[in-house]
Symmetry: C2
Subunit: 254 residues, 2 copies
């Protein structure tokens, strides 16, 4: 007997960002796994078993969901944003690779979602309108010097940079260090966007410059976009400025 596992991206959390494919995958499951606050954002039917877990238990959560599916359940593993971007899809693959052979025969599907950088970018204009990179600055799973080398490479090559996992209680200082490092490569006027909880009641979006960007304004759920030297700000009367990166580039590098 074997069930199946869908790793489902619910986007930034508001129901208006939940795709019909994700909604269907959730509705068809008999068992839901996920980080508690993500599970709290989806509609649960009375017939569905719900297994909320702590933020840090990603490997254990992936293993439990896989084993439950192999035992015959139709499991949805709920992920914030897009499950493929610094989220649960990679954790599930990691466990499949090292786990029992039966896990490799399981019907596993990944349901994409709106990842935070797309939602934040949309709120302010089109800062990701040209070449960009996405980088987690958590050093829980990689050495800090690799993060610094990637920040250097991305800034020097003129990529717009989206930072995931900027800060946590255990890592209060890294965002400040990263911003300081980027200041050595990029103009102080470079636009910087902090965005969190897009579409939810506690949504907050702040536009700053690299010079004024204040790391203490970020929390765990904040996504940060740092412009390239090509990124522009359009001032607008009675409206917030538009931040965008033109589709054309001259090759001006910092």
């Amino acid at each position: 007997m074997s069930g199946r596992l869908a790793v489902v991206g619910i986007g930034p959390g508001d129901h208006r960002y939940l795709t019909p494919e994700a909604e269907q995958a959730l509705a068809m499951a008999d068992t839901l796994y996920g980080y508690g606050p993500y599970l709290a954002r989806v509609s649960v039917q009375s017939t569905q078993a719900v297994h909320p877990s702590d933020n840090r238990d990603e490997r254990e959560r992936a293993r439990d969901a896989l084993q439950h599916a192999v035992d015959g359940a139709n499991v949805a593993l709920v992920s914030g944003g897009d499950p493929g971007v610094f989220a649960m899809a990679a954790a599930v693959c990691e466990e499949i690779e090292v786990g029992p052979l039966a896990w490799r025969s399981l019907d596993v599907s990944i349901v994409p979602g709106i990842t935070a950088m797309l939602a934040v970018a949309a709120r302010v204009g089109a800062p990701l309108g040209h070449d960009f990179c996405a980088l987690s600055i958590s050093d829980n799973l990689k050495p800090w010097d690799l993060i610094e080398r990637r920040l250097d490479a991305a800034a020097r090559a003129g990529f717009v940079i989206a930072l995931y996992n900027p800060i946590s209680r255990a890592r209060p200082t890294q965002l400040g260090i990263a911003l300081e490092r980027l200041r050595s490569h990029l103009p102080s006027s470079t636009p910087v966007v902090f965005g969190r909880a897009i579409g939810r009641p506690d949504e907050r979006v702040n536009v700053m410059t690299l010079e004024t960007a204040d790391p203490t304004a970020a929390d765990m759920a904040t996504l940060i976009i740092i412009g390239s030297p090509e990124t522009r700000v359009i001032a607008r009367p009675e409206r917030p400025p538009l931040i965008y990166t033109p589709r054309a580039a001259q090759g001006r590098l910092p």
Copy 2:
């Protein structure tokens, strides 16, 4: 009198990827603009005026949509994928910056969508599970040597690389040149994914290696993901392999 403009991402095209926010923005518009094949993928009401345009008229399409909205229409400008990723949102911002002052007062909103790299990644596992970059290799709007410098920088820094706009009738050779360049930085066994039209009847996803990747297998609508040295392939009996990039990195650079 002033209307409004929503730049709406419809994802890869299948209705199951259209978010409720996008569906609502389309339903509320009285006028729809967009590249013809994208408009053909959305439901049009009999009361809505439809202005399809050619693929290459992005600036003109943006200007027409802006002026129509400033004249009082409720306009939706339809974009494939996510409008903020190599699509119409940046084109609209460009025109606002250089256009009549009235355009700056307009109510403009961007509705995010599932961009191609997320849809393609979901089909094969989690290749974007760690740091990655997105790069257009069209040199219509930027010098080719800038593209090469960015390919070099991204590969050397160990980013997974998503390539947009890989090829067109006017640019048949660039993808081959880009892949050849990446071969000088990355192991020949590096996983490479070609994906197009995810969720549509003509969907096609091919997993190759950097050594065997065949540029002639790509068309205009293909999105290409090139792994990093950390990207892994899980062979599975009776199922396609899973391609993923682990959340942990050792700092091994090519």
